[in-house]
Symmetry: C2
Subunit: 235 residues, 2 copies
DNA sequence: CGAGTTCTGTACGGAACTGTACCGATCTCG
DNA sequence: CGAGATCGGTACAGTTCCGTACAGAACTCG
């Protein structure tokens, strides 16, 4: 493979200019993550930065009563944790693997070095953090205004894009935690989406039957976040 | 006044090292903002960046049905808009003045120039954006989990810190929009806070009677966001 | 195969919040 | 001062969602 033709499988890394892409080959190692495996802990120094390939990671805020709410969903269009691109090597949030798969892992040392030395690298990462900020803001509005079914459809739509498959493993229990609602609330929402033929949901196995229909049932936040990340990968 | 002793009144700008502070004097002009006056529009190129002195600005997400929800509150500990520190001169969100007062305004050109040329400047701004990201995430969790009264107390607590006064002007109508709830919901919450003697609320005029009590009634998100911004101003 | 675990569907009372409406109080401004 | 606009308190029916509980289905593993 010629230099610069290296592809990591993470769209953010692969959107770098040729020379930076070549550097990726040396800086990355691929790690298979199991479901619910933690990658970063709130308040702890980061040892590495993870660029998902086909895994989906969740960034969550943990409240004092122990409740957790998802504040960011990260797939092959982005990375965890954003702090690394904001002059801090301490992660503010906890993140873990939601849908099992592979991530391209870079040490925090290498990441910081490249932020400093490559203008295109730093620029692309920061533009991506901007999309992450947009998403967090969108989630704030979404959680305040949108009904469970729509948020549920949004999450499934986002996840399908990220895993690149119609099938993925996810229990209602975890989806409920992500959305900040009751499990039985997700059960009812998933049932509604099944009845209209958008998905099937059987014991942790989701299958998207009609992507267009599912997207249509999702709130506007799906398209908004997708657009923000897409924009951050261009130019 | 000796160089480096210049104080803008915005704590973020004033946390810069001596040399950068001196530069502020040339780069800033002070602008008085009226309540509800817009400073940035979603999708439009930024002409300037605003560092509040005693004004309080709101960053809002506008949904397709026209509803707006606050996704960031900005006072003298921060600035709008974060995008400027993330390699974009286009604002992703709309922001406007919530509590009237003064902002220190810098042209986007000067801001970008300083981001590029001063490492301490760029570092401080990015650490501040990190706190802004943390806040947006916290709001996402807050909107999903916390009751109106607590969110209301949070907002008033945050605002009092930012205006540096026990009195400020704010209609329930606008507070309702910020929290993403009904106006009469705010009316009931404000009434509850009045009954316990934390505040008085009369026709758009809020007076905080017992700050400690108000803070205690606020959800944990008040302290969490305050801490995040405080940390971003140190070192 | 059988015991134990995990996961989902469903139910029910209750709490929180919504949408809407109306009135009175207060402020603004000619 | 008086008309009009703004703002806040209250009410009520309706909806969404919560907390909790329980049973059955599906899976795991010895």
């Amino acid at each position: 493979m010629k230099p610069g033709e290296y592809r990591s499988g993470n769209r953010l890394l692969d959107a770098l200019p040729r020379q930076d892409r070549a550097q990726n080959e040396a800086d990355l190692r691929f790690v298979a993550l199991a479901a619910h495996q933690s990658t970063h802990s709130a308040g702890r120094a980061m040892e590495h930065v993870d660029f998902p390939v086909d895994a989906v990671l969740s960034v969550v805020a943990t409240l004092m009563n122990g409740d957790t709410v998802e504040v960011g969903t990260v797939g092959n269009e982005s990375f965890v944790e954003a702090d690394a691109a904001l002059n801090s090597s301490i992660s503010m949030r906890t993140s873990f693997c939601q849908v099992r798969g592979t991530v391209a892992r870079m040490s925090i040392t290498r990441f910081e070095d490249r932020m400093e030395k490559s203008i295109p690298f730093a620029r692309l990462m920061r533009r991506n953090v901007r999309a992450g900020l947009f998403s967090a803001q969108q989630f704030a509005a979404c959680n305040a205004k949108h009904a469970i079914v729509k948020r549920c459809a949004r999450w499934l739509s986002m996840t399908q894009d990220r895993v690149g498959s119609s099938d993925f493993i996810l229990t209602q229990e975890f989806l409920a935690i992500m959305l900040g609602v009751r499990r039985s609330g997700v059960s009812e929402a998933a049932d509604a989406l099944q009845k209209i033929g958008a998905i099937t949901y059987r014991r942790g196995a989701v299958r998207v039957l009609d992507q267009a229909l599912l997207n249509a049932k999702a709130c506007e936040c799906y398209a908004a976040c997708k657009g923000a990340f897409a924009e951050s990968l261009q130019e």
